[in-house]
């Protein structure tokens, strides 16, 4: 009896949290379906319309905000950042897991410090640098600066995955007649696939959601959805319905990605904990 009560209380608490957490999302969905003239009525009775979505996904509003372009920019920049981080980060993580060399721990710590230092501390010098180098408002510039977000994540998480692999597996490959490079690609890499999937998704989400870098380092050419969605708030009347629709549209890629690699994700997140 007491147990059942406890269970019921737990359920209740969960439901309460669920409502609390989902309410803003629900509010946003409602907001995105409101027509512009009913935007500021607090009632839930209104004529739902998909006009906001049409505007956002179509040609843009009367201000000429090209949201679709921002969307593509976000995709290019985030995917590019994750891809580059994987190419650089996987070998780096492997090396950090397998070899101790002079300064290796310092190097790793420096990398980690990129994560916990606020982005705002470096943004002004970066802005000046980007202006000078011609990287301002360019894809290359954005992919590069997002390495501050994605690279430490990938290196640190993948290092722990590689550390969990027995080095004897690669040693066995060396004795089977494979070179060190082949041992890495044929033995070590396939075994950390679930980790790569999990960390890539995480890095993608962080890159996609990044706000400060595109805010300062882009203007129109390479601007991303996070900043672009706010463009609808400019002008004489803020169009909250358009911003809400834009925000909801921009949730789609990370969500789809998470759903497709969910299978790996669960394995990936529990991989380090369970030793065979």
């Amino acid at each position: 009896m007491r147990r059942r009560l406890l269970c019921a209380a737990a359920d209740l608490a969960l439901i309460a949290y669920f409502v609390f957490a989902l309410f803003p999302v629900a509010w946003m969905v409602v907001l995105s379906l409101k027509p512009t003239n009913e935007l500021f009525s607090t009632y839930f009775s209104f004529t739902p319309t998909l006009d906001s979505y049409r505007t956002v996904l179509g040609a843009g509003d009367d201000q000429g905000v090209p949201f679709l372009r921002f969307f593509v920019n976000s995709l290019v920049v985030s995917l590019g950042a994750v891809a580059l981080s994987l190419v650089i980060g996987l070998p780096a993580a492997y090396a950090a897991a397998r070899w101790r060399f002079r300064g290796s721990e310092n190097l790793m710590f420096t990398l980690l410090s990129f994560r916990f230092a606020p982005e705002l501390t470096v943004i002004i010098p970066l802005f000046v640098l980007y202006q000078q180098l011609g990287l301002f408002d360019s894809y290359v510039g954005m992919v590069w600066v997002l390495q501050l977000v994605t690279l430490p994540l990938i290196v640190w998480i993948m290092r722990s995955y590689f550390s969990d692999l027995s080095p004897e597996l690669e040693q066995a490959a060396l004795l089977d007649g494979y070179t060190r490079k082949q041992a890495f690609f044929r033995v070590a890499l396939p075994l950390v696939k679930p980790g790569i999937a999990a960390v890539s998704l995480l890095a993608f989400i962080f890159a996609w959601n990044n706000f400060v870098f595109p805010l300062i380092l882009t203007s129109s050419n390479a601007q991303t959805v996070t900043v672009g969605a706010l463009s609808f708030l400019g002008g004489d009347r803020p169009k909250y319905n358009l911003t809400a629709a834009a925000a909801l549209v921009s949730v789609v890629p990370p969500l789809l990605l998470a759903l497709t690699i969910q299978r790996y994700l669960v394995r990936g997140l529990s991989f380090g904990a369970v030793k065979s």
Binding site: S166, E168, L169, Q171, A172, A173, L174, L175, D176, G177, Y178, T179, R180, Q182, V187, P190, L191, S276
Partner: protein, 372 residues
């Protein structure tokens, strides 16, 4: 021996931080020889194999294979095959793919159909023919161990390095595999360095045996040499179950052995300076029950004591006898021990030539054998 030795280690030293794994290890394995490396865990056996394979770089000394110095030679260029104690099988592949791995590598590539044939033979030999399609994760430890052994035997090698390759098999299978291992053609033809902590395995398999302790080679030799002329008490204790009896005592002015509590004296065949603290070694199976029967080789020595406890070991019985304050264990056929009960006085006989005399053990150094 003609030509250079297959494997030569000279003064090899290896430290991990503050821990010394190998401390000036010397080892020489002749071409085609089956050499057993015996030692307790932590003695440096695995490090020795990995150093030979090139997976660990020694900080001192040299490693030679076939007379050529291996410094700076990559593992894949050394041509040795190694079976890891942890199996080190590729967990994401099937047993077949694990066995095929060396045959697909750039160094030992075989055409696919030849590889299939070769893998079939080896799998049959090791009794894993039916398991080839299974993922490694779904094999038992014993099966994994045989796949790991198969991955070594499947390819040609200059030497096989086997790290406890039978340790995870159940007792029956281990015995069968032990008998078969040496008969396998590849093993018969190839220099094999076999690491074990099991003295029975070492005695059964090794052409020669090396006993290793704290990263140093204590003694190498044939099984007879190690059994009859162990260089110290560590080697003597390493072979034989129940263990050799080591009775502490001193040498009397007449050159006899007197037990530490003075309960008995025995004449010694080897001269030792009077007053030396010594240990008398005698193996349990070299002691007879009852009055000396004179089994050739001079008059037997006699001891008297009282039965302490008896324990049945299958067809034989281990009898522990109290002589003064010391205990002595002996193994006799079961029939002879029938009717022995605790505290019954017994007479024991020992052939003088089976006695071994050692110096007393010192801390961190086992007593050396005193010989003529």
């Amino acid at each position: 021996m003609t030509g250079p030795a297959a494997i030569t280690l000279r003064g090899v030293g290896k430290r991990y931080g503050k821990n010394t794994a190998l401390d000036g290890l010397d080892l020489e394995v002749a071409e085609g020889e089956f050499f057993c490396l015996l030692g307790p865990s932590g003695a440096g056996k695995t490090t020795t194999l990995k150093t030979i394979a090139g997976l660990e770089q020694p900080q001192a000394g040299t490693v030679e294979l076939g007379g050529a110095d291996m410094a700076g030679v990559e593992p894949y260029d050394r041509g040795v095959a190694m079976c890891f104690e942890s199996y080190a099988l590729y967990p994401h592949r099937t047993a077949y793919d694990n066995l095929a791995s060396p045959l697909r590598s750039p160094r030992h590539r075989l055409p696919a159909h030849e590889a299939r044939e070769r893998i079939g033979e080896i799998a049959e030999l090791l009794g894993i023919g039916a398991l080839l399609d299974r993922q490694v994760g779904r094999l038992s430890n014993g099966q994994r161990q045989r796949v790991a052994l198969g991955r070594v035997l499947v390819r040609p090698a200059r030497a096989f390095l086997l790290d406890e390759p039978l340790s995870h098999l159940d007792a029956k299978l281990r015995q069968a595999m032990r008998a078969e291992l040496r008969a396998i053609g590849a093993v018969r033809r190839t220099t094999t360095l076999y690491v074990t902590h099991d003295s029975v395995e070492a005695l059964a398999l090794g052409d020669r045996i090396g006993v290793i302790r704290d990263g140093r080679m204590v003694q190498t030799g044939t099984r007879e040499e190690l059994w009859h002329r162990p260089c110290d008490t560590f080697v003597a204790r390493s072979f034989g179950r129940p263990r050799i009896n080591l009775l502490p005592g001193t040498v009397t002015p007449e050159g006899h052995f007197r037990s530490s509590d003075g309960a008995y004296e025995l004449p010694l065949a080897v001269p030792a300076p009077p007053g030396t603290a010594v240990q008398l070694g005698v193996r349990p199976r070299d002691i007879g029950l009852g009055a000396p029967a004179g089994t050739g080789g001079g008059p037997a020595l006699e001891l008297t004591g009282a039965v302490h406890v008896t324990e049945l070991l299958g067809r034989a019985t281990e009898v522990t006898v109290r002589i003064g304050g010391q205990r002595l264990s002996l193994v006799v056929p079961r029939a002879e021990a029938a009717g022995l009960s605790p505290d019954r006085p017994v007479r024991l006989s020992v052939a003088p030539e089976s006695l071994l005399l050692f110096e007393a053990d010192r801390p961190a150094r086992p007593g050396r054998r005193i010989s003529t």
